[in-house]
């Protein structure tokens, strides 16, 4: 198992409601010494714009509690301000890597736009700031299920990137899990962290994988092993919390097996979550071919 996927293009979508630099800090850990193309994405939510044309709608301001009438022009101005803030943050952070990022602005439904833009990237980084924005994160849009729809790698980076002390790998014996293992190893090496492996399967499979992975020289960083059966994936947050993980790397298809898994993990944990897609090749590499 010596799969070493190369990242050529990274799509970064910062939470427009509360963009955080932790997302950008995480980039170093995710791509290491590779120098991929970086593309920032800002989505102007048409659903939100549609609200302003509705006369009956009322807006209550978060910080003052004041009640406002929705106004398209004001909303456009606020979106513009968000876009400028996000672009400035991205450009500033990328200057550390001596990279000049591309910055793309699209208008549409957030989910649809993200899925469409993700087709041209090996890695999609979605920034989240749940602690600051609460339920307002990504304007309340649930993006966890995207993990089941994107072939590449989808990383939900929460703003506690630097606090965890390990990399958690969720391994279920699939080929996608092998890609997860390779990615987890790379992050652990880049961040100089130990790994914790969570084997998801029946006890016999888990023992086999443990033996195989344990003897694999490619997995020397695994310090702890846990086994849970697939129906008990709900226990995953407790295991990850006990391991004080900075990031969980898991196969994206788990979201199909257990809908709302990633959304639930994001709600319960402060660590980041990286879902690895099914495809052997990303759309980006295909596109280049």
């Amino acid at each position: 198992m010596k799969i070493r996927p190369r990242t050529r293009r990274v799509l970064i979508a910062l939470d427009p409601a509360a963009p955080t630099s932790a997302t950008l800090d995480a980039l170093a850990g995710l791509v290491g010494a590779e120098r991929p193309e970086i593309c920032g994405l800002f989505i102007e939510d048409v659903t939100l714009l549609g609200l302003s044309s509705l006369s009956v709608v009322r807006e209550v301001a978060l910080d003052t509690g004041a009640e406002n009438v929705m106004d398209t022009a004001r909303l456009e101005r606020q979106m513009h301000a968000q876009r400028v803030r996000v672009e400035r943050m991205l450009t500033g952070a990328m200057s550390r890597f001596s990279v000049q990022p591309e910055f793309k602005v699209t208008r549409g439904r957030v989910r649809d736009e993200l899925r469409r833009e993700a087709q041209s990237a090996d890695l999609v980084v979605v920034g989240r700031s749940p602690r600051q924005a609460g339920a307002r994160c990504w304007m309340g849009i649930r993006l966890g299920s995207l993990a089941a729809e994107i072939n590449g790698i989808l990383a939900f980076v929460q703003d506690a990137w630097l606090t965890g002390k390990s990399v958690a790998l969720v391994y279920d014996g699939t080929e996608c899990a092998s890609r997860c293992l390779a990615l987890a190893q790379r992050i652990a090496a880049n961040e100089n962290l130990p790994m914790v492996a969570v084997l998801v399967g029946n006890p016999r499979d888990c023992s086999r994988w443990h033996a195989a992975l344990g003897s694999d020289s490619a997995a020397p960083r695994v310090r702890q092993w846990h086994g849970i059966e697939a129906p008990r994936l709900g226990d995953l947050p407790d295991v990850v919390r006990a391991a004080n993980a900075r990031v969980i790397v898991l196969p994206g298809h788990l979201e199909k097996q257990r809908p709302e898994l990633i959304e639930s993990l994001l709600r319960q944990l402060e660590c980041s979550i990286v879902a690895v897609g099914e495809g052997p090749e990303t759309a980006a590499t295909a596109h280049r071919k």
Partner: protein, 815 residues
């Protein structure tokens, strides 16, 4: 009288031995100064030593010392040496530290600790911070802490989320959606997960529209209430986090602080400070948890980094006496206000001056506390506010660190006001006598604060014991200056030079700096000739080189005399003309210069016109001398008749100011020569003052004056009979140059010591001065007799003239 006179004066010329007192090298007790053991004795300054002893040992306020003495007399060195010995017998003073004042950071707290423990405390506090920087993050990374903080976080988030979700559910039940916006939340009617369009809404029945509006109003109100509650939840959340932090930190902090408190249990104020440190750490434990490197340039500039915060636990050891074995002795060579009382440094942050207790620096008063502080009085008085600050500190018994700007009130920036340091120090001011008396006269505080005067003598007696100690002291100076060793002969020569510059063969100067410099110059001479030991020849070369360096003006004057531009006769006889001797001072160098004085007489009313005074070139003392000699003439020769002469005295070819009375005997002799019409021997020069009774009196710079006339004679070629008449009392002051003494030995030059003006007159005119008889008359052929006779004739002429003009006093009486 003239060259043919057969009169032999009774005054004997001095022998060469009488004009110089040699120092015996063999009596010094060493071969070279390398053998000398440097001693701490203050040679011949018993009075000053006793004053120093008393001043340094006496208790009570105001018993500080003022050391008086001439500049260059090594008072500073002698005082410091004395104080070092005195301090060595005392206990070292306490350390003094400043620590952060947690109640009022503007007023740093002072701590006094036994010597060495200030630094120890500083190290301990640094170690405490290091230990806490390691142990606190460890405690805060423990599973236990993480679980508990997560629980608090989740509680907080759950509370907000649950309420919002409940609100969302309620909205859904009413066909409404709670939708996030950039500013907050919007409430809108929703059908099948999609916000309804405006045109669809307008198609709704009015009742449904009203119902929707009512629902939106009600939900908005609930949402507002939810937001209003959030700050309280956040406050509660922060309180719980703080409590957990405090609880987590308490264990690690308490153990370390307790250990320190036990170590310093004998120092109540230190223990008190440690308690405050503990409280502060528990309240601000988060600062120990941020990584050291955290903090960008702006945070650094604004003093908001972790390092800046942790600085409050440091100890600023202002006075560290751990290396002292006795009381401190501090010499502050630049006694500015700041160097005396200490200062507070500042750093600039965003154009604003910022400071804290760690930037307090000590002054000499703090460093010398518990011991002695030596200051140069003149330098102290030259520094703005330094003297005032010193007096304030001494009066208050404490040093308060204030900047000049604060004292003068020229800045309004808030600064620090550290605890004043209790003061127990002896101040030793070293200065001139003039300054001492001026301070006594014009500064009312001075006598209160400096009650002990240690007066250093300008000279010490040149007796055998003192000479040996003096020689040892010179040896010590040579050693201290790192000079080549001097042999005993060289030291003896330096001692002779010392007697010469003190203008007394029986005394030695205390201006040792001059002698130190001379030995240094001799060292140079010795090295020039590749010698290893400084000899007499090197000292003599150094003395001659000194003279040569400063000799330009003297050479020019002597050359002018030689060329006849300045009229000086060194042979022959002249009536009313005499060679007087003056001395010219050019910096450290002085030399004698012969001057011609002439006197003329005519009928008059007893006035002696001092031309120098008339043109305001003569000083007060010179005028006094002329008035004395005029009084002498009247009292001696015209006691019973009017003094009917008007005479003029002139210092010929003198165009600058002249002062002193050392020429008064010469002026008198010239005047009497003019009256008696007896010529004066120009081979002789005269120096000395005279009193109203005709007694010769001592004058200064006798050696320079004699050598000055000798040099002029020598340039013209010495001939027998040349010499100088001096007051007999000046004989002990003679330390004449070797070349003068050689001429004396060869009878080419002579020094005549006289006691009276009569002896001088006899020598100058070769005629007996004459002794007055019972009727007040002098022998007719004597000098005095001829003067008496001349004055009587002038009186007769005046009377005749008066009769002719009808203005006679006797007629008036008869009338």
């Amino acid at each position: 009288m003239n060259e043919t006179s057969t009169y032999r004066p009774v005054v004997e010329a001095l022998s060469a031995e009488q004009t110089y007192r040699e120092c015996s090298a063999s009596a010094l007790g060493f071969a070279t100064t390398a053998d000398v053991v440097r001693s701490g004795t203050i040679v011949g300054q018993e009075r000053a030593r006793r004053a120093l002893e008393m001043g340094t040992r006496i208790r009570g306020t105001g018993f500080n010392l003022y050391v008086l003495g001439p500049p260059g007399s090594s008072r500073h060195e002698m005082v410091r040496q004395f104080l070092r010995d005195e301090a060595a017998q005392r206990q070292p003073a306490d350390d003094w530290c400043y620590v952060y004042n947690f109640d009022d950071p503007r007023k740093p707290q002072g701590l006094s600790l036994p010597p060495g423990r200030g630094t120890r405390l500083s190290i301990d506090m640094r170690q405490l911070v290091d230990d806490l920087s390691a142990s606190l993050p460890a405690a805060f990374e423990s599973d236990s802490y993480r679980n508990r903080i997560t629980e608090i976080e989740q509680d907080f988030q759950r509370r907000g989320r649950e309420e919002l979700e409940a609100l969302q559910k309620e909205a859904e039940q009413q066909g409404m959606g709670l939708l996030p916006t950039p500013q907050g939340f919007a409430i809108a009617p929703v059908r099948e997960g999609e916000v309804i369009a405006e045109e669809d809404f307008q198609k709704w029945p009015k009742a449904d529209q009203e119902k929707a509006r009512a629902s939106i109003e009600a939900l908005s109100a609930k949402l507002r209430k939810h937001f209003e509650n959030m700050p309280m939840w956040q406050k509660e959340h922060r309180r719980r986090v703080r409590e957990l932090d405090r609880e987590t930190a308490l264990l690690a902090v308490t153990a370390l602080i307790r250990e320190l408190s036990e170590k310093y249990e004998d120092l109540a104020r230190v223990v008190e400070h440690l308690d405050r440190v503990q409280t502060d750490i528990l309240e601000n434990v988060r600062h120990f948890l941020t990584p050291e490197s955290e903090g960008d340039g702006m945070a650094e500039q604004m003093g908001m980094t972790r390092e800046h915060w942790l600085r409050r636990y440091q100890v600023n050891v202002l006075v560290d006496n751990r290396r002292l074995s006795g009381a401190p002795v501090v010499y502050e060579s630049n006694p500015t206000h700041d160097n005396l009382v200490g200062r507070i440094e500042h750093v600039t942050r965003f154009g604003t001056l910022s400071t804290d207790f760690s930037m307090i620096l000590p002054g000499a008063l703090q460093t010398a506390n518990g011991g002695f502080l030596v200051l140069d009085a003149e330098r102290l008085l030259q520094q703005p506010m330094a003297w005032e600050s010193l007096k304030r500190s001494l009066y208050g018994g404490a040093v308060r660190i204030e900047s000049l700007a604060q004292i003068l009130g020229v800045i309004s920036t808030e600064g620090l006001d550290p605890d004043p340091m209790p003061l127990d120090v002896k101040i030793v001011l070293v200065g001139t006598r003039m300054l001492y008396y001026l301070l006594c006269e014009y500064d009312l505080d001075f006598p209160e604060l400096f009650k002990v005067a240690a007066d250093f003598e300008d000279h010490i007696d040149r007796n055998p014991a003192n000479t040996r100690l003096y020689a040892a002291m010179l040896g010590g100076i040579a050693q201290a200056r790192g000079l080549l060793a001097l042999d005993a002969g060289a030291i003896a020569r330096v001692i002779e030079y010392s007697a010469r510059i003190s203008e007394d063969s029986t005394r030695l100067t205390t201006r040792l700096r001059n002698l130190g410099d001379l030995m240094c110059e001799a060292d140079y001479q010795c090295r020039q000739r590749a010698g290893s030991v400084i000899s007499v020849a090197d000292i003599t070369s150094a003395i001659n080189a000194r003279i040569t360096r400063m000799d330009r003006v003297r050479s020019n004057i002597y050359e002018a005399i030689e060329r006849g531009e300045i009229l000086i006769d060194t042979e022959g006889f002249k009536v009313g003309q005499i060679n007087a001797l003056s001395v010219m001072q050019l910096g450290d160098f002085s030399f004698g210069q012969p001057s011609r004085i002439t006197a003329t007489v005519r009928v008059g009313e007893g006035d002696v016109i001092d031309v120098e005074r008339e043109v305001e070139l003569g000083g007060a003392i010179h005028s006094k001398g002329v008035l004395i000699l005029s009084s002498f003439v009247g009292a001696r020769y015209a006691r019973t008749s009017p003094l009917s002469v008007q005479s003029s005295l002139v210092f010929e070819q003198h165009y600058g100011g002249i002062d002193g009375d050392s020429a008064s005997m010469a002026e008198l002799c010239a005047l009497l020569s003019a009256l008696a019409e007896l010529p004066i021997n120009q081979a002789l020069a005269v120096t000395g003052s005279v009193n109203q009774l005709g007694r010769a009196q001592t004058i200064g710079a006798v050696n320079e004056k004699i050598e000055g006339f000798f040099d002029v004679c020598k340039r013209r070629g010495l001939c027998q009979g040349q010499g100088v008449i001096i007051p007999a009392e000046n004989v002990p002051h003679l330390m004449l140059d070797d070349r003068v003494r050689a001429a004396i030995r060869q009878h080419q030059f002579a020094i005549y010591p006289v006691r009276t003006v009569d002896e001088a007159l006899s020598l100058l005119m070769g005629v007996d001065a004459g002794t007055v008889d019972a009727e007040g008359v002098y022998p007719a052929n004597s000098i005095n007799g001829r003067v008496q006779q001349a004055l009587a004739e002038l009186a007769d002429k005046r009377q005749e003239f008066s009769k002719g003009s009808g203005d006679d006093g006797s007629e008036s009486d008869q009338a």
